[in-house]
Amino acid sequence: MSLCFLRGISRAAYMTFKMTLRQNVMDGFIIFTVLIQPLLIAVMALWMLQDSIENPAIFIIVGSGLTGLWSSLLFVSGNSITRERWTGTLEMLVGQPTPFPIIVFGKNLAHVSQSLGSMIVAYILAVVIFGLQLTIGEPTLFVIAIGFTVVAFVCFGLVVAPIFVMNPGVQGWQNSMEFPIFILSGFLFSIALLPGWTTPFSYILAPYWAARALHGASSGGASTEDILLSLGMLILFSLIYLFIAAFLFRKLLIKARSDATLAGQ
């Protein structure tokens, strides 16, 4: 892999990232998913949890931000290939020399990064409207955890998008996949509240490890070892997702070309 090739794909990913951000600003559905919904969940949780837990504001801001990340991954990144097909641009994207997964990577990075905006807005809301104190227990680890979370979610999106486009039946269940992950990943309450048999399902979800790392680093209730373990799990899951995504993209493109369904509806 030459340096020139790497520079080329980085530029393509960056341009896709930039274009997607600009397009998203005009899309009411995306604005709701990545910004408004997490914010409304944060407001609701602030009223519900403010007297029941210590340092609630930062816990809620991080948790509601994570709901935005997941909703964005599910509804926006999950549809990133399907949307291109609907608008008739999938053939051109697949036909040009830049590897197609790089384009989807740039798009997903834009969606996931945009979702982090909800945390910033919720942060301001908690301070200004609710007058709450906000402190981050481990600022350095928190920033690192955010970076790892973004990467893991982008990689997860690379798995979800081809699955949805190849299996419209699975996509039909999209609406029902949002809240289960909120629950199993412990975004806004501990998974210890759930029946014991659900715990293994939490452990195989990258969003759970993201929540554990971010809550641990922000609320300051976790040991450094525990946060590092969660970060390690995020790296592991990102690698697994990339491996699965490579396989799925190869399969998707071969199938779409042989069936001539790139432009299909």
Partner: protein
């Protein structure tokens, strides 16, 4: 007499045909995902969130609130799509070109969604009983069913108003989603209304669902019709006001669209 019979025919035919035409995509799996599984997990999420805040003994507060709130899926999204769908599919000019009575045509759009919404709430309560130990042993079931019916009608009233907004704006899903979540906050489904700042309690006061949810909670605790009749009348009145506002907007839109030639504008 002939006129009444014709209007009734338009009401039922319009209700049935609009439901079939606009919800043909609703395959059993899609229906299950959107109307059975999604509400279950929404109910579980907010119940666990509430329980984590106020303890397991308060679970029924959240179960009842969120089970009742499920009606908003049909009331808001379903009814809005039933009205706005004519614009998106290009059939609005035919609709406004017909001599059919507008009120029967307009109200017919909500008809099936009222039953669908009630079914959703029943399923929500069933999930509550089977999974979250909701106790209905002291409940006046016929009055609870009446409460669910009235709450569904009032939510569909708001849906009729929102549906008319779909004739004006292209971003109706943004508005729908926002209203759906605002109802989760302000209807008392998850946060007791008295906990909200007094300025914001006005939103609860003018929202559908608020009184219906309060009535359902009283009934679950053993109350009877006499204790909730005021709440139910209020809930019905709120729904009728929203429905009337919706019809006024619908009428205004028809006049404006015909005047300005924007019936086909998408």
């Amino acid at each position: 007499m002939m006129r009444i019979s014709r209007n009734l025919n338009i009401f039922f035919q319009g209700a049935l045909l609009s439901y079939i035409a606009l919800f043909r995509w609703l395959r059993p799996t899609t229906y299950m995902a959107s109307k059975i599984v999604m509400p279950l997990f929404q109910l579980l999420f907010f119940t666990y969130l509430g329980v984590s805040a106020t303890g397991v003994e308060t679970a029924s507060f959240y179960v009842v609130g969120n089970a009742m709130q499920i009606t908003a899926i049909s009331g808001i999204y379903g009814v809005t799509m039933s009205i706005g769908g004519d614009r998106w599919s290009g059939t609005l000019p035919y609709l406004f070109g017909s001599p059919a009575n507008r009120i029967t045509m307009f109200l017919g759009r909500a008809f099936f969604h009222i039953f669908d919404g009630m079914l959703g709430v029943f399923i929500g309560f069933a999930w509550g009983v089977f999974l979250l130990n909701l106790d209905l042993s002291n409940t006046d079931i016929p009055t609870l069913i009446l409460t669910i019916l009235i709450t569904t009608i009032s939510t569909a009233g708001l849906g009729l108003l929102m549906g008319c907004l779909a004739l004006i704006t292209r971003n109706i899903m943004f508005v729908n989603n926002t209203v759906y979540f605002l109802l989760l906050i302000f209807s008392g489904a998850n946060i007791p209304v008295q906990v909200l700042p007094s300025a914001l309690q006005i939103i609860s006061f003018i929202s559908p669902l608020t009184r219906g949810i309060a009535a359902a909670r009283i009934l679950i605790l053993g109350g009877d019709l006499s204790q909730v009749s005021g709440l139910l009348l209020g809930e019905l009145a709120i729904g009728l006001i929203y429905g009337a506002l919706g019809y006024a907007l619908f009428h205004w839109f028809e006049v404006q669209a015909k005047k300005q030639g924007t019936l086909d504008a998408v």
